[in-house]
Amino acid sequence: MRAIIKDFELSIKNWYRNKAAVFWTVAFPVLLILIFGAIFSGGEQKILLGIQDLDNSFASKAFIENISKIEIVDVKIIKADEDIKEFVKEHGAALQIPKGFQDALINKEEINLTLYLDPSKETTNSAVRTFVANVLNELNIRLNNGRNYIRCKEESVVSKEYEYIDFFIPGVIGMTIMTSAIYGSVEINLKYRKRGILKKLLTTPLKRSYWIFAKMLYFLFLAFLSTFIIVGVGKLVFDAKITLNLFSLLTIISASFAFTGIGMLIARFVNEEESADSAASAIIFPMMFLAGTFFPLEMMPSYLQIFAKILPLYYVNEGLRNAMIFRDFHKSLLNLAIISIFAIIVFIMGTIITKWEED
């Protein structure tokens, strides 16, 4: 146990004293999110508000016309036979003028308009809410001497839709864990072999399984570090709707172990420095692009989708998305189970099939 802790400590020291390694672990994923996030998030300046007129009267039309004249708002008319909730899911906010609007105005009776909002878009919601409140307030002052006849009730429409950045962030987490664990463990093995450190360790009582486990802990530390940075940047800069919960953390742990194991296996079977690097890249790059890191699997031809399902990163991405965005814990548990089994197999292969001992 002391050896494992010491080895972990050693890896961390070696890492933070290597400025380039720190830069790449921390800065690379952040750069990716900033770039992709900026590309895919269209800047919305105006408030987009759908209006559905169920009264279809002179008064309601005049009301809509007046609102449309206000510059900060972009009004879209929703036809009476369309589903207002669908509009909200897609665009975020819509106001419904009920039947009897004109009559209520004439008779000075109370009437409720309904404001449909998507609660996940809280930043635009508050702007919409303030805007609608101001409009109705003004109308009440003009028509009713400030008495609150025209009111507004709010209804939420929970959207299952997510934005690209929400989809992208779990992908970046999966990809970062994969690249740092595979490249990292290949590099450690090759460096240690070249420097005679593996030989040296062979002559000490340190067990190989302890050593591999200590390295797994080290890459897990890096994985958590990258995850917190990625999620932090995603939330701060892009207001991403993602959460780190138990399932996502468990998925990250088994993913990190699985990819460290893959790296250890590659390093064992490929001796030359360059060929080990290419072998690592040959595994990393197809996985990165085919396992749904940058775009949903559904965008790919079906034979590639089938292929993707044999890639461990696919299950990591799926597991993370189910846990972090959709909060579908059944699916996330299933993915977690697949990755964990895979991690156990690679760890066992890593300690049994591979050997430190030289021929």
Partner: protein, 295 residues
Amino acid sequence: MNVIETKELTKVYGDLVAVDNISFEVRKGEIFALLGPNGAGKTTTVEMLEMIRKPTSGEIYLFGDKPNEKIKERIGVLPQEFQSFERLTVRETLLYFSSLYKNSVDVDELIELIDLNEKRDELYKNLSSGLKQRVGVAIALVNDPDLVFLDEPTTGLDPSARRNLWEVIKNLKRQGKTIFLTTHYMEEAEYLADRVAIMNKGKIIDIGEPNELIEKHGGKPKVKIWGINELEGYEYKKMKGGIEIVIENEKEISSIISSLDAKKIKFERIEIERANLEDVFIKLTGRRLADESNN
């Protein structure tokens, strides 16, 4: 007592017999050197003893036992061309390696002993190659081993760093440790070793104390006198500019000098030539020890 004993130790890679049926023993408390050119099979041999490689056939006994995990607590190893962790300090490096053993020495005392005090907080990568090797030797000592393996410890060092490390190694012997050394430098073997095994092409050609081997294979000492053509009373051989007399022992030198004196013979220069391990090696193998390609 023998600390190491091998019987018909053999290692074969495909068609290549890297180590060919060698048997020898290393006695407690001695410095034992395996001397031979690169490619002789020294490292393969030492790595089998260190339990890094498995022999194809033959037997190894360390402290009277077959190699096993427990023995790893009792041996210290400096592998060939060993380079430790770049970004750990000398002290951190030693603390790391000592954490791998059940029993370990006090790291600060070890730093003192190997004379690394001034560099204790220096990162390994910033050390000179001589100091790096010294750290390597220190690492091999963290578990206070009874048997220390040093595989080509001074290769690539400048002469003063090499001499420095020799003193460190001599010191280890004084502490009662048994040292197994491989080298292709004959001066190193001659200076350090109590006994030398000469290895070539996977075989051990002869084992013995350096002086014994030199006497046995190197021939007798020669006295070379320049500026004369003959000397009565001695069997001499003419050479360019002088004569050469083969002597039995060093006492004959004074008799030659007094004879020259008595006859008032004027000469330019007198020189005594003794064989060294290099000559022994050439005699035994027809090859030079230090291949041009090595250095």
